[in-house]
């Protein structure tokens, strides 16, 4: 069982996630979430996802690549523009992928 540790990890993550979802529904139904905590939770999605986006665009090979030959950065910036203007998930992914593939055909590999 080479992946036993991963099975166990997933069971723990699954139980924790279920516990979070169940907390107020089953046990704390008559309690209110502290206002400060409620405010903090509002920022979780944007903070987590941004922490994942930035390295994917700016450090595609593990080191900072702030240059016009970084095709992932250029395609990502274009996708940010599309997402901002259209708010369309599928269009953002499609234009981002298409521009990456086109850029990769013309730019030298990183």
């Amino acid at each position: 069982m080479a992946f036993l540790w991963l099975w166990l990890t997933l069971v723990v993550v699954g139980l924790l996630t279920f516990g979070i979802r169940l907390s107020f529904l089953a046990f704390l139904g008559n309690k209110q979430l502290a206002p400060l905590l409620q405010q903090a939770l509002r920022f979780v999605p944007v903070a987590v996802l941004s922490a994942l986006i930035a390295p994917a665009l700016l450090m595609p090979t593990g080191t900072l690549a702030l240059s016009f030959t970084n095709s992932r950065l250029l395609a990502g910036l274009l996708a940010i523009l599309v997402a901002w203007r259209t708010r369309n998930i599928l269009l953002t992914i499609a234009i981002g992928m298409a521009s990456l593939l086109i850029l990769q055909a013309f730019l030298p590999a990183p």
Binding site: F3, W5, L6, W7, T9, L10, V11, V12, V13, L16, T17, F18, I20, R21, L22, S23, F24, L25, A26, L28, G29, N30, Q32, L33, L36, Q38, Q39, A40, L41, R42, F43, V44, P45, V46, A47, V48, L49, S50, A51, L52, I53, A54, P55, A56, G62, R72, A79, I80, A83, R87, N88, I89, L90, T92, I93, G96, M97, L100, L101, Q104
Partner: protein
């Protein structure tokens, strides 16, 4: 008066437009999990056990980087803690349900199911069978997620690396984050987390994601508090 069946189908129907966005997300997850070196069975089991899209992506990414289990658990916990908000917000409406109902609905409580359920509860506060609507919306999403991740896992082995499909992941995140930047404090939270993620990239054990996310949250919160203080 709505019947359980009509409420259930109503929930399924209202969830359908959201599923259009879920299918590519599930496909990408399946492909991405395999490329991270996760065996197909475990990749699919993760969709059942964890059932939370962005956390599953991050777990796959951390597994690929050889991250220790404890850090994976910590990072996934931070990502999923937002569900506290959903649980607290729905609790006033589900108080009189039986325990099996509460446990079942909690398992199905994703971002997408929450969005539909809370709008139904608010729109029809006297509807005594609205939990059937919640169940319909939640099960529709669950089924769609399981099938699309399975399809992604099936396709995964057949997509050449030169297609750079891994890039669909940050693109999906961009498509989710950018429309959510509605005010200054959430934009600051996003930019702060992004900057710290770059600076903390070399932190051992991939702790950078957790550190960056917490920093972004703290920054957004601080700006919010400063604004409240001024008012």
């Amino acid at each position: 008066m709505a019947t359980p069946r009509s409420e259930f189908l109503h929930g399924v129907r209202d969830e359908l437009p959201i599923l259009i966005g879920t299918v590519p997300f599930g496909l990408i997850y399946g492909v991405f999990a395999l490329s991270a070196g996760i065996p197909p069975l475990i990749a699919q089991a993760m969709s059942c056990l964890v059932f939370a899209g962005s956390a599953q992506f991050v777990i796959a990414q951390l597994v690929a980087a050889g991250t220790p289990a404890l850090i994976i658990i910590l990072t996934a916990f931070i990502i999923n803690i937002r569900h506290l908000l959903y649980s607290a917000s729905l609790a006033p409406f589900t108080g009189r349900l039986t325990r099996p109902w509460k446990w079942l609905l909690a398992y199905l409580l994703t971002d997408e199911a929450y969005a539909m359920a809370i709008s139904r509860y608010r729109q029809a506060p006297d509807e005594e069978r609205a939990h059937w609507y919640f169940l319909g919306a939640g099960l529709a999403l669950w089924t769609c997620w399981q099938l699309s991740t399975a399809a992604g896992i099936f396709l995964g082995g057949q997509i050449p690396a030169s297609w750079s499909l891994d890039f669909a992941l940050p693109l999906t995140f961009i498509a989710l984050v950018v429309p959510a930047l509605k005010d200054r404090s959430s934009t600051a939270a996003a930019l702060g987390a992004a900057l710290i993620a770059l600076l903390a990239f070399t932190l051992p054990l991939k702790l950078g994601i957790a550190v960056a996310a917490l920093s972004g949250i703290a920054l957004g919160l601080a700006l919010d508090q400063a604004r409240i203080g001024k008012e």
